[in-house]
Structure formats: C-alpha cells, structure tokens
C-alpha cells in the first residue's frame, strides 16, 4: 500500500476529543479518535448507543464544539488544511440525519427544502430554483409532480430521498450520514443505501457513514471503524474486518446479528454480557475489558492502542493475535 498524498485524502481527523457536561458529570464522548477517508470513499463507523459515533459526525460537521484535536479538509481538491470552525465547515460538510421528518421543515414544499442550501440568507427561496430542485428530485428517484408536496405527504423512504437530494444540492464534498436508514423498513433500506452509493459515485463525494447496524455498513462502506466508549477499537477494510474480526468487541457485534439461516441455532454464538459502562466513569485500561471474556490483568493496567503493525487493519487489543485463533462461529 502506498502512502496517501495529501490530495488523495478528503477528510482527516486527528486525535479528536469532544467532552460534554462539567464537573462530576463531565464525560469524554469522543476520546482521542483519529481517522482518514480517501476521496470518493466511505468510512463506516459502527458502535452501540453511547459509543460516541454520532458525536464524531457532529464534530466533523461543526455542529458540536471540538474540545481538542484537528479536523482537516481539502477544499477544492487542494492540500489538507484546518477546517473553519463554522457549522458545515464553510460549506464543505453536509449531513443526512436519521429522522427525515425532523430534518425537513413540515410546512415547506419539498422542492424548497432541497433548494434552501442554494439560497442562503433569510430572504426566502426564489421560484427560479424549482427547476434545479426538480432535477435533484429526479436524481433521487422521485417524480417531478411530488415537488409541491409537504413531508407529511411522503413515505419514510421518500422523505429520506429528499434529504439526500438536499445534501447533494449544497455541493459539499464531504457528507456525514448519521444512521440514514435506521428508521426505515428493512425492505426499503437496500434501496436508499444503493441511492446513497450512486450519488456518491456520481458526484465524487466522500462519506462518513454512522450506523449501529453492521449489515448497512457492509453494504455501503469501503472501510469500517468500530467504536466503543469514545474510542476506535478496530479499523480496516470492511470485508476483511467482517471475515476476520480481531477485537473481541467486533467479534461480539458480528456474532449478535440476527441471521435468517436454516442452520440450527448457532451454539458458539458470542453473547456479550452486560451493557456499555457509564462514559463519565470509564473503566481504566481497556474500556471493553468489563464485558470481555478474554480479559486479563494487563487489560486493567495498560490501555491498548491501535496496533499498526499491519497497515490498513489496526486493532486496539493487547491479545488480538492470541484471540484470532479462537474466533467464535458467526
């Protein structure tokens, strides 16, 4: 693997820390996350509720203040520079949220919601932008006669298509997709994911795709990062991580996916005990050790860092090499 030159990278996050609350309730929602996404690719981030995955997306989009660390973008394909501190990082980052009903104005016809990024300021949305909005509607698979409808007159899948059209309208090169299909029926998810992927290829966009669902990540991402309690515990190419998960947490996540299978119940399935600990008082050492069946004394004493001995697939576990021989059935 050759080293990436600056212009190949669309987004680089360096040692990101985001804290919420103060005093006794202060918590580090994101605690030292570094990541890099090559231009035109999708990095999926998976984790349970409370892992900090959405906070990473919010911080990159400038929607929540960064406590420390750097967020670097490459405007116009030039070299990476520190992103401006504004919402949307000076028009370089867009967001697609989980619930399109909350992300769209209920009283605006959908073409106006789509055209809104094209008409900055508060002077309303000029009628001349409707043509552009209708073109974008066609691109996301919606008919032109839907343009005057309100969000309530659309189905969930159609609404999410509208928010995708709006993200495209803004012409931002980097898009944060925060659980964009989690609220949709299984039968509709595949269609919306395929659309997101088409839009990315068509416009050369770069995605950070946040999800708690490994099957969506498997469908859309090139690389995957697994987050647990504010930290990345494993990063690698998505197929490789799914076939050979190294971190015990990744193994448990994959094992927990309910499968439609004619095989008898999976006897070796790895059922994770307990729940994610309180982020205000994370366990010292490895944060996953309280639920890990391989935990040893060293895990409490020494915090594991991402082992970069194999470029491209990194794991933050002291014992991943030993554990790899005992991968549970998935």
């Amino acid at each position: 693997m050759t080293a990436l030159t600056a212009t190949d990278t669309a987004l680089r996050v360096e040692d990101l820390v985001v804290t919420y609350g103060r005093g006794h309730d202060r918590l580090r929602a994101v605690d030292g996350v570094s990541l890099e996404i090559p231009r035109g690719q999708t990095l999926g981030i998976i984790g349970e509720s409370g892992s900090g995955k959405s906070t990473v997306a919010m911080a990159v989009a400038g929607l929540t203040p960064v406590t420390s660390g750097r967020i670097r973008l490459a405007p116009g394909g030039a070299a990476l520079t520190d992103a401006p501190a504004s919402i949307g990082r000076g028009g370089q980052v867009q967001m697609v949220f989980q619930d399109p009903m909350l992300a769209l104005s209920p009283s605006l016809p959908i073409w106006k919601s789509i055209a809104e990024p094209l008409a900055p300021g508060w002077r309303g949305i000029p009628r001349r932008l409707k043509g552009t909005a209708v073109e974008l509607l066609a691109e996301v698979g919606l008919a032109a006669d839907m343009a005057e409808r309100r969000p309530a007159q659309l189905s969930g899948g159609q609404r999410q298509r509208v928010t995708i059209a709006r993200a495209v309208a803004a012409r931002a090169p980097v898009v944060m997709c925060d659980e964009p299909v989690a609220a949709l029926d299984v039968s509709l998810q595949a269609g919306v994911l395929a659309l997101l992927d088409d839009v990315r290829a068509e416009h050369g966009l770069t995605y950070l795709f946040i999800s708690h669902d490994m099957s969506s990540i498997a469908r859309i991402a090139d690389q995957v990062g697994v987050m647990y309690l504010g930290r990345l515990v494993e990063v690698g190419p998505v197929r490789r991580v799914l076939r050979e998960p190294r971190h015990p947490y990744t193994q448990a996540l994959i094992s927990a996916i309910p499968r439609v299978s004619r095989r008898a119940r999976r006897p070796n399935r790895m059922l994770l005990p307990g729940e994610i600990p309180d982020a205000r008082r994370p366990p010292p050492g490895c944060r996953f050790r309280t639920r890990c069946r391989f935990a040893q004394e060293r895990c409490a004493e020494e915090t594991p860092v991402l082992d970069t001995s194999e470029p491209g697939h990194t794991t933050a576990c002291h014992f991943w090499r030993e554990i790899a021989d005992r991968t549970p059935e998935r």
Binding site: E48, S49, S155, G156, G157, D185, V186, S187, L188, Q189, A190, G191, L193, A194, H212, D213, M214, S215, A218, R219, I220, V238, R239, L242, R243, A252, L253, I254, S255, A256, I257, P258, R259, V260, S261, R262, R263, R265, R269, L271, L272, G274, E275
Partner: protein, 326 residues
C-alpha cells in the same frame, strides 16, 4: 381449518378505523406454549392485530369476526372482563419500553400496581414477587432497580422490566410488538435469549410481532406473514426458510437475509399497498415478479400448501421459490 385446541383462534377478523378498512379476513391460531412470529412491512397490520387482541383499539374502530382466547370471545367481552383478562391472561410489550413505563414513579411501585390491580395480595408479597421476577429477567440488582426511575435505566434494562411487568401475573399469551427493534444489536441478542428462556420456563405462548425475519427465525416455530391488512402466508419456520410458498415472504426473506461478509442485499420493488385502497385481486401483485393475469382477477383464498401451511398465492403449487441460505 382447525377451530379448536388452540389457545388463541382468530377467525375472519375485519377491523376498520373511522370507516377505513385496515384488516381484512385475518385468521390464525396460536397453540398453548407456542412461539409464533407475525411479520410484514410497516402498515401491513401487524401492530393493529396485536392491539385488537388486547382490546386496545380506539373508539372509532369497528371490529367484525371472532377472537377466541381460552374459550372466551374477546370481541364480545365487555370492558370489565377485558380489563381482568389483560395482564392476567394475555399481556403485551411494545417497541419503545421507556414510553410504556411511568417516568415519575419508581419501577417497583409500577410492578406492584399491576399485581394488586389483578390480585388481592398484601403489598409486601407483591413486592417480593416483583423483585423475584426482576432477578429472573436478568437485572443485576433487583432491589436497587425497584427504587429506580426509567431515566436512570438503559433501553435494554427498561425492556427487561417491561417483560417482568408483563409476566408478573402469569399470563398465558405474551404479545411482543417489535421488542428488540429500538435496542442495540448486542442487547437485542440478550433480549431474544431472555424471551426464549422465559417462554420455555413458563410454558408461555408468544406472538412476536417483528419486521426482522432474523429475530423471528431464531425464536419462532411458526411464522404468519401479513401484507396490506391480510394474512398472506402461514408456515412452519423451517418450511418457510427452506421453500417459501408465497412471493411476499420470499421477498422479505431476501431483504433480511443479508450476506454480511459479501454485502449482498436485495430490496423489494415498489412500496407497500395502502389497505384503504387495496389493489384488485392479490394485493401483492403490483410488486410481484411472478404475477399473471389470474392474480388480478380475484382475491386468492388462503389455500393449504404442500408444506402443511396456508398461502394466499394462486401460483403456489407451480412456483418453486428459493428460501434462505442453508
């Protein structure tokens, strides 16, 4: 069709709300101790069926048909009798457990309320029973949980509490409406295991409402598939996974049968039909890859299949549909 022997028999159930027909000729049975799945997309009528069984429909609803539960016709039961049956004989848990619990009353008091609404027992005895059950559903410190409020608990803990509360009066049927949908996948696996264990330990019948065929295939011995307010297929889970006898459950199977390692995934074409204005004939035909003219002509009856199930597909005998991966 067998009309006796089952704990629950639903026959010719039509439900409309405000004049809009939403369920049409729904019919199925649940046996004593059986765990049955009820699947379909949003709007197919799964939850409405559950609410009808519980007698929890809004005032504007009109119900025709019969729901026989342990010898009693629930559609003819008065409000007093329904109140006695709910909680005692049949109970229901929902997708969002936190929304089902009182935010400003300690958990223990809420469970004791349920016990004492149905049985004349002293408070102390009710508390003890609540505490035992909280331990049974796997809460680490039941005594502390009794004093806790919902905002202090996680979603998974709240769902365990809902399960405890639903089971505290020893019902014979539990209706579980998407009980794991709002939970993280690792917690979902824990709750699925818990439901399986509780059903086996207590000899409980469960009607599991879910859009996730993965969860259903792990828990249920039989699967009822609904589409657009109708039951379109009933089959044993293993028979359904081997060879579906209706294109709709097959499509659902393919949509949930994600080959995670490969990222392969199939969507169902089109959008679900609206039960207020159903398509002519087979309601699934506009989205069905196997449709013929006959499908549009008339609503197919629920017919017996070679696998011993029931299907609303006129072509079930001639089609060989592929099931789930072995």
């Amino acid at each position: 069709m067998p009309d006796s022997g089952g704990l629950l028999t639903v026959a010719d159930l039509d439900v409309s709300i405000g004049g809009t027909p939403l369920l049409s000729e729904v019919a199925f049975t649940v046996d004593e101790g059986e765990v049955v799945g009820l699947v379909g997309e949003s709007g197919s009528g799964k939850t409405l069926t559950g609410l009808t069984l519980m007698g929890l429909l809004p005032a504007a609803a009109s119900v025709r048909g019969t729901v026989t539960f342990g010898g009693t016709d629930l559609t003819a039961a008065g409000p007093e009798e329904l109140r006695r049956l709910r909680g005692n004989e049949l109970s229901m848990i929902f997708q969002e457990p936190r929304a089902s619990l009182h935010p400003a009353r300690p958990i223990g008091k809420q469970i004791v309320d349920v016990v004492r609404a149905h049985e004349d027992v002293p408070k102390a005895a009710a508390r003890e029973r609540a505490c035992d059950l909280l331990a049974q559903v796997g809460l680490p410190s039941p005594v502390r949980t009794m004093a806790a409020y919902t905002h202090e608990l996680s979603g998974g803990m709240c769902q365990r509490i809902m399960i405890a509360m639903a089971l505290v009066c020893g019902p014979r049927l539990l209706i579980a409406d998407e009980p794991t949908t709002a939970l993280d996948v690792t917690i979902q696996a824990q709750i699925v295991t818990l439901l399986r264990r509780m059903a086996a330990d207590l000899g409980l019948s469960v009607l599991l409402i879910s859009h996730n065929l993965g969860v259903v295939s792990e828990l249920c011995s039989r699967v009822i598939t609904m589409y657009c307010g109708q039951v379109v297929n009933i089959d044993r889970t293993d028979a359904l996974l081997e060879q579906p006898r209706h294109p709709y459950p097959q499509a659902l199977l393919q949509a949930s049968d994600v080959d995670v390692e490969e990222g392969e995934w199939t969507a169902i074409d089109g959008t679900p039909a609206d039960p207020a204005t159903p398509p002519h004939g087979c309601r699934f035909h506009p989205r069905c890859p196997h449709r013929t003219d006959a499908c549009e002509a008339a609503v197919p009856p629920l017919a017996a299949t070679a696998s011993g199930g029931l299907t609303r597909c006129v072509r079930h005998a001639e089609l060989t549909l592929t099931g789930a991966a072995p």
